[in-house]
């Protein structure tokens, strides 16, 4: 270890810059009090380095650590767990920098930075974060180099780190591809491992979907083999809501089975879904998935469910048949539940429904009449409907006449139930946008939708989309066409084609990144090996491949780095050549022998060539050690002499 026990000022700055780089992405994720404290501590350290002052007393640092612990506990009610632990770590780093003064302390701080970066990936693993972490890794290498050699300037330190990285990147790629992957978790994830994900919920009340619509975040991507289904068949089924308490729609417990209880028919679509984690079990399959989905169950209301909540990005291959007839033989209990309405809720809507029942005997005719009723009401589709009171459906249908898909579907279902037709609300996503760059259908949170289903004897559960009836553009052209521009987030607007093109390109890149970098797991690894013609790749084969690849690369690198003598100039090369010629005659020049001394010895040993040898040696010595640099002509003369020299 080093004998130096203080850090030079420049090294302190380098350490601080590295720490700031690794802490910056954390600040938005930790409580603001802790973030502020961390920033202040870093600033304090920088000031101390600037003043070349002593470190603060240990008691002060301990008090600060305790303060940090209190802030952390106030926010998370614990000091352990993922988020609290990371928040504490991000405070520990500046504290370590304040406390440390030896290169070893500096190294400990750098290791903390490495660990924090891994923590950063828990929050986000996008391309920009990867770039940020790469920059931070370079900073860590450069700072390590300066800890090792304080005299090193910033530029050579960075250049050296980049050279090291250049040698390391191919090795890293080999490791990334061939390192035998194990699918986690190795131990149970702490409860807060996936906090705060956006997505559908298992209940719906006025406003819950319009809130979701504000988000341009991607919900999932679908990669179709062959044709895409037309927009009006792109209904991605999420939770089905049957129970209504007058305000809120809720899911009803269902049975699940390993295969669907319906027969598929009509045209089928094969596709692969890549779901963003949303911490709920539903898989948002296109209506209606055929059997054969791996690691999934089929619920009795036709949703496809994962066995565990989707807590990491998930890929699943599916086959759907939108034209299938489902629920032909529905249980009476479920139909009863799909008819129940709370006492005294929405009296005007209920009355309208009863009037429909009186006018039409056939349930199918009642459905058509209800849609006609709603169209006649001239309802408008808007993201910002007026606030509803107790009887949301009444106010929507008869007073404000402004609503969003949840208002349409909710009012329609109440109308149908009052008319004696079993009906329920289905939530999920509708539509999606094809990315022209990679042809993948992207479905965002803003595509969240609520529609209705009615049960008709002989036809089973039939989808009715009351929103589509009033605002057909919503279904055919997507939400951006159906709503006035001012309601939409900037990137969702249609008129900015340039931004749209940019967004498409960016999302195609992100999708490749998600699929091939972030989603590279044990099964993807197997898939890749199969494509490489190695169907039975187990960890032994992978390790062997990895070893072979790494060995080849390191061998090449070692050959490149092998210490080579600095290139001799032309003059020295000629002299070496002459010496080699003599060496072949058994006259080896010793390291310490001056050219003329050696020539004297050689001349004695080879009297026949004495003149030539002396001539060459003197000529060389004269050019090499003479007061003026050798001319080209003089070197050429020597070259001729050496060339003609045949001992």
């Amino acid at each position: 270890m080093s004998t130096r026990n203080t850090l030079p000022r420049d090294t302190c700055y380098a350490l601080l810059a590295t720490a700031t780089l690794s802490l910056a992405p954390f600040l938005p994720h930790i409580p603001w009090g802790m973030g502020l404290l961390a920033a202040l501590l870093l600033a304090w350290r920088a000031w101390l380095a600037h003043q070349e002052a002593e470190r603060p007393a240990l008691t002060v640092l301990i008090l600060l650590a305790v303060l940090g612990g209190v802030l952390c506990f106030a926010e998370y009610r614990t000091l352990l767990g993922r988020e609290a632990g990371l928040a504490m770590l991000s405070l520990l780093l500046p504290l370590k920098l304040l406390e440390g003064r030896s290169p070893r302390d500096g190294r400990a701080a750098l290791l903390l930075c490495c660990f924090l970066m891994t923590g950063q990936f828990l929050n986000e693993q996008s391309l920009p974060v990867a770039a940020m972490v790469l920059a931070c890794a370079i900073a860590i290498l450069a700072t390590s180099a300066r800890l090792e050699r304080p005299a090193l300037a910033l530029k050579p330190a960075l250049r050296g780190s980049l050279r090291l990285l250049g040698g390391a990147v191919p090795l890293m790629l080999l490791l990334f591809v061939f390192f035998p992957r194990i699918d986690g978790p190795l131990w149970r994830l702490p409860g807060d491992a996936h906090a705060g994900k956006t997505g559908l919920s298992d209940s719906m009340q006025p406003g819950s979907i319009s809130e979701l619509i504000q988000s341009g975040e991607i919900a999932f991507r679908a990669e179709f083999e062959g044709e895409l289904p037309p927009p009006r068949e792109r209904y991605w089924r999420g939770p089905v809501l049957t129970d209504f308490d007058g305000q809120r729609w809720r899911e009803r417990p269902t049975q699940t089975a390993p295969q669907p209880d319906y027969e598929t028919s009509g045209p089928g679509y094969r596709y692969t879904l890549t779901l963003e984690p949303h911490d709920r079990p539903w898989l948002l399959a296109l209506d209606y998935p055929a059997e054969g989905a791996s690691d999934a169950t089929y619920s009795s209301n036709f949703s496809l469910l994962a066995r565990r909540p989707v807590s990491t990005r998930l890929r699943i291959s599916l086959h759907s048949f939108p034209a299938s007839q489902v629920g032909l033989e529905e249980r009476p209990g479920r139909l009863r539940a799909a008819l129940s309405l709370p006492e005294g809720s929405n009296p005007r809507t209920v009355a309208a429904g009863q009037a429909l029942a009186a006018a039409h005997a056939d349930p199918g005719a009642r459905v058509a009449a209800a849609i006609a009723f709603m169209q006649a009401a001239r309802l408008s589709y808007t993201l910002s409907p007026p606030l509803a009171n107790t009887h949301a459906a009444d106010e929507f249908l008869f007073d404000s006449k402004q609503g969003f898909c949840e208002h349409f579907s909710s009012a329609f279902v109440i109308l149908m139930r009052a008319a004696g037709v079993p009906a329920r609300v289905v939530t999920g996503y509708q539509g999606g946008e094809r990315n022209p760059v990679d042809g993948i259908l992207v479905v965002r949170q803003s595509d969240a939708h609520a529609w209705a289903e009615v049960w008709l004897a002989g036809r089973g559960w039939v989808r009715v989309d009351p929103t589509a009836a009033s605002s057909p553009a919503r279904i055919d052209d997507g939400i951006a066409q159906a709503l006035p521009d001012a309601d939409l987030p900037m990137m969702m607007r249609v008129d900015s084609d340039f931004l749209r093109g940019l967004r498409h390109r960016w999302e195609a890149v992100s999708n490749g990144w998600n699929q091939w970098v972030l989603g590279y797991n044990a099964s993807r690894q197997l898939e890749l090996m199969r494509r490489l013609g190695l169907p039975a790749a187990d960890w032994r084969l992978l390790t062997a491949l990895l070893g072979a690849g790494a060995g080849l690369w390191l061998g090449w690198l070692a050959w490149r780095l092998w210490p080579r003598r600095a290139k001799l100039d032309a003059l020295d090369r000629l002299w070496q050549r002459a010496c080699r010629k003599l060496a072949r005659r058994g006259l080896q020049r010793a390291e310490w022998e001056a050219p003329t001394d050696f020539a004297q010895r050689a001349a004695l040993a080879l009297p026949a060539h004495a003149d030539t040898i002396t001539d060459i040696a003197e000529h060389y010595a004269c050019l090499r050690f003479g007061p003026t640099p050798p001319t080209t002509a003089a070197i050429a003369t020597l070259r001729r002499a050496v060339h003609d020299f045949k001992p």
Binding site: M1, T3, R104, R107, A108, L111, C114, F115, M117, T118, F121, L122, Q125, V129, A130, V133, A137, L141, S144, A145, L147, E148, R149, G160, L164, L165, G167, A168, V169, L171, M172, L175, F176, F179, I182, D183, G184, P185, L186, W187, L189, A193, T312, V517, L518, G519, Y520, N521, A550, L554, L557, A558, L561, W562, P563, R564, R565, A566, K567, E591
Partner: protein, 323 residues
């Protein structure tokens, strides 16, 4: 077998060539070893923790970061190794050393390669850092090392380790050398006895008060070791350079530093120490001396070379024969 003996065995095996080695010593690739430093081991432990976290939370980029830093670690091995491989060292004793003090060597490092060899360290067998220097590409650099010397005689620098932890300090590359560069250790000048009787009054006294006024013989160029008393200050002031006044020595009686003058009861080393002190005293005053030892006579003489020869005699007295 204890760890210390194991280490000793490894060191002996590692040097492998005939020791001490003839100089210059060129470090061949097979004699350069690499192992992680403590900082490197700490990094590996951190990487392992990061890898476990990445597996547990399925963090693809976590894998990426671990693999990136791990690969840098591996590439670091090559870089450390090449910092030393092919480096050429030679040690030569430098300056005077007296028993009980420090002996100094000049270390010349020759880098024939086309890459820089930064932060090359030398350590003694106890692991103390002796020097730290950079050797630029295709150039020489020199540094000095000092080792304690307790006994007069010849002292080899012993087994030294050459090491480098460049570029990041995660990996240490090192090699053992045992160069043949004996330094002469003079006896430590000691003893309170005055200069030999009779000389102090005539010889030294005279030379001190009237430094050979009558016997001035001429000027010669200054040589290191010449007494400041003999410097021709006047000529220096005239801008003629540093010159030393020479005195016709034939007339001035030489002071005889005789082994037999010292009491027979005095132990050998103390006797040599006393003689060494006298030699230094006479050197300081620039006096003409003769050193008489049981087996040799040195001098008379008064220049630097003479005093050096005297000290050498004292340093090696009784050692050469036993060899």
């Amino acid at each position: 077998m204890s760890a210390a003996t194991l280490r000793q065995r490894f060191r002996r095996w590692a040097t492998r060539t005939r020791t001490p080695e003839t100089q210059p010593i060129r470090l061949p690739q097979r004699r350069v070893y690499v192992l992680p430093t403590r900082a490197g081991l700490a990094l590996l432990a951190t990487l392992l923790a990061m890898l476990l976290a990445s597996i547990n939370y399925n963090l693809s980029l976590g894998y990426g970061l671990v693999f990136l830093l791990g690969s840098v670690f591996i590439v670091h091995i090559l870089h450390s190794w090449r910092t030393l491989t092919g480096l050429q060292l030679s040690l030569s004793p430098s300056g005077e050393a007296f028993a009980g003090g420090m002996a100094q060597w000049r270390v010349e490092l020759v880098n024939e390669a086309s890459h820089e060899r930064p932060a090359v360290r030398l350590r003694d067998s106890q692991g103390r850092e002796l020097m730290l220097t950079d050797v630029p590409a295709g150039q020489h650099s020199e540094a000095f090392i000092a080792l304690p010397c307790s006994q007069r005689g010849l002292l080899q620098p012993g087994q030294l380790s050459v090491e480098s932890t460049q570029p990041l300090g995660w990996i240490r590359a090192w090699s053992y050398i045992e160069p043949d560069a004996p330094a002469v250790i003079y006896p430590s000048p000691d003893g309170e006895r005055p200069l030999p009787e009779g000389w102090g009054d005539n010889g030294e006294g005279r030379s001190r008060e009237r430094p050979g006024q009558d016997d001035f013989a001429g000027l010669r160029g200054f040589q290191p070791g010449d007494s400041p008393r003999q410097i021709a200050w006047k000529q220096l002031a005239q801008g003629r350079g540093l010159l030393t006044k020479q005195f016709a020595s034939a007339g001035s009686p030489a002071c005889v530093l005789d082994w037999n003058m010292l009491p027979a009861t005095l132990p050998l080393e103390e006797r040599l120490s006393q003689l060494a002190r006298w030699v230094l005293q006479t050197r300081h005053s620039g006096a003409r001396t003769t050193l008489l030892l049981p087996d040799s006579q040195t001098g008379p003489g008064e220049d630097a070379a003479h005093h050096q020869a005297c000290l050498l005699r004292l340093a090696l007295f009784g050692l050469e024969r036993s060899r």
